[in-house]
């Protein structure tokens, strides 16, 4: 990043980073507010870890969605595919024939199958992604209800032990009212999330594939003229998104332990909202994978805050809509002010991120 800025000091802070910064600041502010308002619950580490543990599937889906959105597409089938995976795994595990490893393979297989199908149709046959992934949503939903309609609770011993498995952090925890020390616990899903975030953020930032995705999202014509294989890259983004839906599905059933028709319903729009709050633009070319989990966590904290405030459930939806409105308008205003070059981040030098300091030096030299 720094070398790029040295050559072009005017755009020191790229749009991706600016939006990421906004998302991160909003997240910190929200969490700070939550701590001030409800110190009893939000000050505990366990609450923070629970955000990861319980919402791991959504964060994983958001990662896949962000990659597709950076490439200029959209994938609205992710929630339904996740639901299908949970049900398929539950049926397989309950039938007594499959093992946990078999379920993992099945989950990945379903995800990859959907990714392959949608990616091929969108990239090589040039069909509009919205329609194809909408069809994917219908297909996954239809298959889900065809496989099984009633909720199943998985009782297979191997799986139950995996479901109840927790990583205990003995040195971090809180004391309850009786004075007993309760160590923090993390579900394996949270570990999966962290690993995926690191892997995918590195992939998008430093690999050739990641840079190609950004280039294609920015302008696919130019990308093609630069010699990037546009079709194959787009194909891979959908494949990756499908694979991540499969992983999310397994993490989902690992957390809840039950297959249900309503599993992960509506996650696709939540994932889109989280990606947007995290600073990814639907137009493509702009986004930061580190922003996606932050966007998802912001969305979840909003929900937690509203729940903690004890507002009526109908207000919850309205308030989260309003907050979404605020974020969207804020992003838009910041972007447009930036476009007019009236907007500068006024931070003291010691607070400035290194790339901005690099810009200062460049200006001084100039």
């Amino acid at each position: 990043m720094r070398s790029l800025n040295a050559a072009k000091p005017k755009d020191a802070l790229s749009n991706s980073n600016l939006l990421f910064l906004i998302a991160a600041v909003i997240f910190v502010l929200m969490y700070g507010f939550a701590i001030l308002r409800y110190p009893g619950s939000f000050l505990q580490f366990q609450t923070f870890f629970d955000l990861f543990s319980l919402n791991a599937p959504l964060i994983i889906l958001t990662l896949g969605m962000s990659i597709v959105m950076i490439g200029g597409g959209i994938d609205i089938s992710v929630g339904a595919v996740t639901g299908l995976v949970t049900m398929a795994c539950a049926v397989l595990l309950e039938s007594g024939m499959g093992s946990v490893w078999g379920a993992i393979l099945l989950a990945l297989g379903i995800g990859i199958a959907f990714g392959l199908l949608q990616g091929y149709l969108i990239a090589y046959l040039e069909i509009q992604p919205f329609i194809i992934t909408l069809a994917g949503l219908f297909l996954a939903n239809g298959l889900l209800t065809t496989i099984h309609k009633d909720p199943i609770n998985v009782t297979m011993p191997d799986f139950v032990s995996l479901r109840d498995f927790k990583i205990v952090i003995p040195w971090l925890g809180t004391e309850n009212r009786l004075g007993n020390f309760i160590p923090c616990e993390i579900k394996p899903g949270a570990v999966v999330v962290v690993v995926l975030v690191v892997l995918l953020a590195a992939l998008m930032k430093w690999s050739r594939f990641g840079r190609n995705v950004y280039a294609i999202g920015g302008n696919s014509q130019s990308a093609m003229m630069l010699g990037i294989n546009v079709k194959r890259t787009i194909f891979y983004t959908y494949l990756l998104s499908g694979l991540l839906s499969g992983i999310a599905g397994f993490v989902f059933i690992m957390t809840t332990g039950a297959g249900n028709v309503g599993n992960a319903a509506g996650f696709e729009l939540k994932a889109i909202a989280a990606s947007i709050i995290g600073g990814t633009l639907l137009n493509g070319g702009v986004g930061n994978l580190l922003g996606s989990p932050i966007g998802a966590l912001t969305l979840l904290i909003i929900n937690e805050l509203i729940r903690a405030a004890g507002v009526q459930s109908n207000f919850q939806a309205i308030v989260s809509g309003l907050l979404l409105y605020l974020f969207i308008v804020l992003q838009s205003v910041v972007m447009s002010l930036r476009g007019r070059r009236k907007f500068r981040i006024a931070l003291p030098p010691w607070l400035q991120p290194p790339w901005l300091q690099g810009k200062k030096k460049a200006e001084n030299q100039g």
């Binding site: 149709l121 069909i127 329609i131 069809a135 994917g136 239809g142 065809t146």
Partner: protein, 367 residues
């Protein structure tokens, strides 16, 4: 003549799908077109399809305009229709005796609510330059709760003769009222597009907003206007839906109909990335979706698998309509023609329409 030909080739895909579906229906049972008269009104498959698709048709008209101008889709249409209809129900229930006047006044009030919703979405899209799908995500998130709060309780009942007649049949008129309302609305839109510059302006904004601005068309105004029209469409659709149902179910009214509306726009041969549009195509697309739903029911596909079949059908349809496949088809056709011209097979010159119908054959086989 050439223009007519261009239009027809544009509508070829939705029309051929419609014909294909009807053929499937006729194979299933020859009495598909039979119409019976019950209490002086016409009933049968065709009237039922027209009746069932009325909201979808109206919403897809608005969706076509929004898609054409703003290069994105409005995913809050079903929610917006729920809110406008809740305003309508609130007005009618509070007005005391339901007369024709109160119903019309309630409809106008709900249109105002639709305009407000359209203005909200339109401002976000045109002034704040938010992508339409994101801007309408806000209302999608909170809209049904707003409708519930306007209602004040779960599903208030709209029990009066006039709204019952609007939802079903007016005595003495052989056609169900929603069909008439839809036809009137389509006619109004047609007049609007014929008499004003709306089509030209919308298409130019959709194709290139900056170029439109340089030519003196304000893209902001046009996008805002299309969202206002969308608001009126949602008000009309909500009006019809709530009168059909007889009660206002804020949770399930028209649920997820926006997906079908977007699908109708796409089946109608419109690009979802904006620009040129064909309202006729969208209307045919909307009816096609309704026919598809009813065909699957008629073929006795289980309710749980219906969605999967629908998805497979959509995928096949989009593959057939995809630019790559079309290109191959035209190439194949020109090869056939070249061979025919060289004199080996003295066949009659294949008309242009066959070029597009060639790729349709796999669809027929698989369905």
């Amino acid at each position: 003549m050439r223009r007519l030909k261009a239009q027809v080739s544009h509508l070829f895909l939705p029309l051929s799908v419609l014909v294909l579906l009807i053929v499937i229906n006729l194979i299933k049972g020859a009495d598909y077109f039979s119409i019976t008269v019950v209490n002086g009104a016409l009933y049968g498959n065709i009237p039922n399809i027209l009746f069932g698709a009325s909201e979808l048709v109206i919403l897809s008209i608005g969706m076509t305009l929004v898609t054409a101008s703003s290069q994105g889709q409005d995913i809050s249409v079903d929610v917006a229709a729920t809110i406008t209809s809740s305003v309508f129900v609130l007005f009618v229930l509070n007005a005391g005796n339901a007369t024709l006047l109160t119903i019309v006044a309630g409809f106008l009030v709900s249109c105002v609510a639709g305009l407000v919703i359209g203005a909200f979405n339109g401002t976000l899209v045109s002034v704040f330059k938010v992508q339409p799908m994101v801007a309408t995500l806000i209302l999608f998130t909170g809209g049904r709760s707003i409708a519930f709060m306007i209602d004040g309780k779960l599903s208030p009942i709209l029990a009066n003769d006039i709204s019952n007649q609007i939802g079903t049949v007016i005595p003495g008129v052989p056609i169900q009222t929603p069909i008439i309302l839809t036809a009137v609305f389509i006619a109004l839109v047609a007049v609007l597009l014929k008499t004003t510059n709306l089509r030209l302006y919308t298409e130019s904004v959709g194709i290139n907003p900056s170029a439109a601005r340089l030519n003196g068309i304000d893209p902001k105004k046009i996008i805002f206007l299309t969202f206002l029209i969308m608001g009126v469409c949602t008000a009309v659709a909500g009006f019809i839906a709530v009168n059909k149902a007889g009660r206002h179910d804020s949770v399930n009214l028209l649920k997820l109909l926006m997906m079908d509306a977007i699908l109708a726009v796409a089946i109608g041969g419109n690009a979802l990335s904006g620009g040129k549009f064909s309202i006729t195509g969208s209307i045919i697309g909307a009816y096609t979706i309704e026919v598809l739903n009813r065909t699957l029911l008629r073929l006795e596909v289980g309710t749980e698998t219906i969605k999967a079949f629908k998805a497979v059908f959509i995928i096949i349809l989009m593959v057939v309509a995809s630019p790559v496949v079309r290109e191959y088809a035209t190439k194949a056709l020109s090869w056939v023609r070249a061979r025919a011209d060289s004199g080996t097979v003295p066949e009659t010159d294949a008309p242009d329409a066959v070029a597009v119908s060639n790729p349709d054959t796999p669809a027929k086989k698989e369905v």
